[in-house]
C-alpha cells in the first residue's frame, strides 16, 4: 500500500466520521476528486449535489478527446458488497459508469467471482476503489526518470490517464498492481520487447474497453517503432486511423522527440502527423517548451495547414551586439505574449522549429518566422516598407502570380485575372514597356501544386505577413511565400523544410547543455 493510498484512506475515514453532512460530502468528494485529477489531469471533474445516491452520480469526469467532448459518471459506494454491487453493475450499465468504493476490495486479481464476471460482461462498467486509484497514481511511490529528465514509462502514464475514461471490469488493488507492472519495463532503459508488449496488450484488453485498449496498443506500437525496435511500419499498427488524444500527444511526442533513433525516423513522424494538426501541436505548447520539433514538423509540411505566417527581424542573430529578443520587441510587433519565460526559447541561433507562445516558430538567418493556425494570433506590423518589384520578381518565379498592384512614380497599374490565372507574363510585358520604379505592398500568389480550392496567398510586405484563404495553406506554402518577405536580406530556409537527418539540437538535450 502506497503512502498516497494511506493518505487518501485517512482523509476519507476522517470525513466519514464527521457528524456534519456537508463535511462528510465535501471531505469525501475532495479526496476522490484529488485522485481522479491526479490520474486524468486533462479532465474536468464536476462534483454533483448528490452523495452515495442510487441513481445520480457523485462526480462526473469530463474531457475532450481530439475536439470531441466525452464524460463518465462516477457513483461512490461505501463498499463493494457483492449483491449490492452486482445490482449497481446491472442497473447502471447503460450509463457506462465508474462504481467507486470508498473501501478497498481485497480480492486477488486471478480470483473468479460472480461480481468480477458480471463487471467484465458489462463491457464498459468499471468497478474499483479509491485505494486502487491512489495505487495507480503512484504505483512505484517515486516517479522514475532518466538522466534526461523524461518519464521512463510513457505507457504507464497513458494507462493512468485512460483508467477512468476507458477502464472496465472489477479492478482491485491486486489488479492495479498487475496493470502497472504490465505497463512498465522491468528495468530502467529496458527495451519494449515483443513479450513485454504482448503481456501489456493482454492486460489492456482485459482491463480496458475495446476502443481504449486499441489506443493503448497503438501507442505501444508507436513507441516500439519510434525506438527502432520494430521495422514493421504503419500498416501493422492497430487502430491506425483517427486522431491521437491530447494525452497521447503530450506523453508520446516529448518522449520520442528526445530519442535520437526516433528523431531520424521520418516515416514515424509522418504517421504521427497524420493523426494530428498544427492547431493541436500549438496546444501542446507547455509540453514541448524548449524542444526542437523539427522532426515532427518537416515530414508534415505539405499536409498540415496554417492560416498566417509572419516574419520579423531576429535581433539575436547579430553576433556582435548580443542583443536578445525581448518581450517589448514582440509587443512592438503586435504579438500576444502569454508567457514571457518562453522568450528563452526564442533566443537561440539555430535553425529549427519550436513552439513558443503557442506559435510555430523558427529562425532563418536574420529572420524569425512565426506560423499560426489562427490568423488572429499574428496581427502583423503596420508600417514596413513596400517591396521593389524588381527585387521580388525573380523570387516569384516559382509561384503562380494571381494579382499584383504595381505602384510607380507616374503610373499605378493593377494586374489580375478574373479567375485564377498566372499574370506573371503580363507583368513582365508591362514592366518592359512602361519604364518606372514600381513598389509593391501586396501580391497574391499560389504554389503550382497547391489545391486551387484553398485560394491564394496574400503576401503583405507592409504587414510582413502571408495570409492564406479560408481553407488555409500548407505550412510549406506559407514558408515559401514568407521567403518573399525576406527579399531584403535573403536567407536560407531550407533547413526548415528539408527532410533530412535531424540530430538533436543542443537546446533540447540537457546532458549536452551541461557538458
Amino acid at each position: 500500500m502506497s503512502t498516497r493510498s494511506l493518505a487518501v484512506t485517512e482523509q476519507i475515514r476522517s470525513a466519514m466520521a464527521s457528524n456534519n453532512p456537508d463535511d462528510i460530502v465535501n471531505g469525501v468528494k475532495q479526496a476522490v476528486a484529488q485522485e481522479v485529477t491526479s490520474l486524468s489531469p486533462d479532465a474536468n471533474v464536476v462534483l454533483t449535489n448528490y452523495f452515495n445516491h442510487t441513481y445520480m452520480p457523485d462526480l462526473v469526469v469530463e474531457w475532450n478527446d481530439a475536439g470531441k467532448r466525452d464524460e463518465r459518471p462516477i457513483f461512490l459506494r461505501n463498499d463493494l458488497r457483492p449483491e449490492a454491487t452486482e445490482r449497481d453493475v446491472r442497473s447502471l450499465a447503460r450509463q457506462e459508469p465508474v462504481v467507486l468504493s470508498l473501501t478497498a476490495l481485497d480480492e486477488p486479481s486471478v480470483a473468479s467471482s460472480p461480481l468480477r464476471e458480471q463487471a467484465r460482461e458489462a463491457n464498459r462498467v468499471l468497478v474499483t476503489d479509491v485505494v486502487s486509484l491512489a495505487d495507480m497514481a503512484t504505483p512505484f511511490d517515486t516517479q522514475r526518470s532518466t538522466s534526461r529528465g523524461r518519464e521512463e514509462a510513457p505507457l504507464l502514464r497513458l494507462v493512468q490517464a485512460n483508467l477512468l475514461k476507458g477502464g472496465r471490469g472489477l479492478l482491485t488493488p491486486h489488479d492495479i498492481e498487475r496493470l502497472a507492472q504490465s505497463a512498465t519495463p522491468p528495468e530502467t532503459g529496458t527495451a519494449l520487447t515483443e513479450q513485454f508488449l504482448a503481456t501489456f496488450q493482454e492486460t489492456a484488453d482485459e482491463m480496458f474497453a475495446p476502443d481504449a485498449s486499441l489506443r493503448l496498443r497503438r501507442s505501444a506500437e508507436l513507441l516500439r517503432l519510434g525506438l527502432g525496435l520494430s521495422t514493421d511500419i504503419i500498416d501493422s499498427i492497430a487502430g491506425g486511423s483517427g486522431e491521437l488524444s491530447e494525452v497521447e500527444l503530450r506523453v508520446l511526442i516529448p518522449y520520442l522527440l528526445v530519442d535520437e533513433t526516433a528523431r531520424a525516423n521520418t516515416r514515424l513522424w509522418h504517421y504521427i502527423g497524420s493523426m494530428m494538426s498544427l492547431e493541436r501541436l500549438e496546444e501542446l505548447g507547455n509540453a514541448l517548451a524548449e524542444m526542437d520539433v523539427t522532426p515532427l514538423v518537416v515530414p508534415n509540411l505539405e499536409t498540415w495547414t496554417g492560416k498566417r505566417a509572419q516574419l520579423v527581424l531576429n535581433n539575436s542573430y547579430d553576433e556582435d551586439s548580443n542583443v536578445a529578443i525581448s518581450a517589448s520587441m514582440l509587443r512592438t510587433a503586435d504579438f500576444e505574449m502569454e508567457d514571457e519565460s518562453e522568450l528563452a526559447g526564442l533566443n537561440r541561433g539555430d535553425s529549427f522549429w519550436s513552439i513558443n507562445n503557442r506559435l510555430l516558430t523558427a529562425d532563418a538567418g536574420p529572420w524569425r518566422l512565426f506560423i499560426a493556425s489562427d490568423a488572429r494570433r499574428l496581427k502583423g506590423r503596420t508600417a514596413s516598407a513596400a517591396a521593389n518589384w524588381d527585387d521580388i520578381s525573380p523570387l516569384i518565379s516559382e509561384f503562380a502570380l494571381d494579382s499584383v498592384d504595381l505602384r510607380g512614380l507616374s503610373r499605378r497599374i493593377y494586374v489580375g485575372a478574373e479567375g485564377s490565372g498566372d499574370v506573371s507574363s503580363d507583368v513582365v510585358r508591362i514592366r518592359s514597356s512602361i519604364d518606372d520604379s514600381y513598389q509593391v505592398t501586396k501580391v497574391h500568389v499560389r504554389r503550382p501544386d497547391d489545391d486551387e480550392k484553398l485560394g491564394n496567398l496574400n503576401v503583405d510586405f507592409t504587414e510582413m505577413t502571408v495570409t492564406a484563404g479560408r481553407g488555409g495553406a500548407s505550412i510549406a506554402s506559407l514558408v515559401r511565400a514568407a521567403e518573399l518577405l525576406a527579399h531584403s536580406q535573403p536567407s536560407d530556409f531550407s533547413a526548415l523544410t528539408a527532410a533530412q537527418a535531424l540530430p538533436l539540437t543542443g537546446a533540447t538535450d540537457p546532458e549536452s547543455e551541461s557538458a
Binding site: T9, I12, R13, M16, A17, S18, N19, N20, P21, I24, V25, T48, N49, Y50, F51, N52, H53, T54, Y55, M56, N78, D79, L80, R81, P82, E83, A84, S91, L92, R94, Q95, L102, T103, A104, L105, D106, E107, S113, L115, V131, P173
Partner: protein, 203 residues
Amino acid sequence: MITQGRYPAYMSVAEPIQQKGIDGADLAKRWLESTTWIELPFDAYHNAPICQLTRLDGKKKLYDLFGCIYGSPKTPLYIESKGYDSVGGKQAKEYWEFLANAYSITAQDLKDGLDARREFWWITRMPFSSTDWADLTTAERMKTALEAHHPEALADNEINVDTLAIAAARVEVFVVNRRQEDFMLTPQELALVESTLNRKGMR
C-alpha cells in the same frame, strides 16, 4: 469468499452488521430514493456519528439510514429498517422502543430550544401488530410506549401532550414488498426523470 478486509475503518461497532439488516436498509434506500423526493446518503454502518440521536436520558440511538425529504427547507429523515421475513419475532416489541425514541428525541430537541423537525420512519418487509395497525402511529400509541414499555426514555420528565402530538405526526410505518423493486423505474429512467424534475435543485 469476498471480504471487505483491507480498510474496514468506517464500520460502526454500535450495531452488529447483519446481512438481513443491510439488505433491508439497501431496499429501503432504493425504494425511497426512487420516489425522487428523498435521499438517504448516510447509513449506520459507515457514518455512525451522523446517524445517531440523543434521547432525554442521554442515551444514543442509532438509525439505519439518515437523509432528507426534499423541500424548502429540507426535512431530516431517519429510517429504522427491519429485514424480517416472517410474522412474529421481535418486531412489535422493537416498534414500542421506536415510538418511545421518537418522542424522547423530539422532546430533547425542543428542550434544547431547537425543533429540528426530524421525521422517523419504520420500514419493514413484514406487517406486525396487525390488529392495532390503524393505531400504530397515533399519539395514544406513543404514550403507551412511553408509559408501559420504555419509561426510561422520559428520564423522569412528564409526558408533554403537545410534544406527543408533534412527535406522533412525524412517525410513519411502511411495509415494502420485495417485489416492489421489480416495478420501480430503473436507475437510468430515474436519472432522466430527476434531470427534468430537478427535485433537489441545480446539479
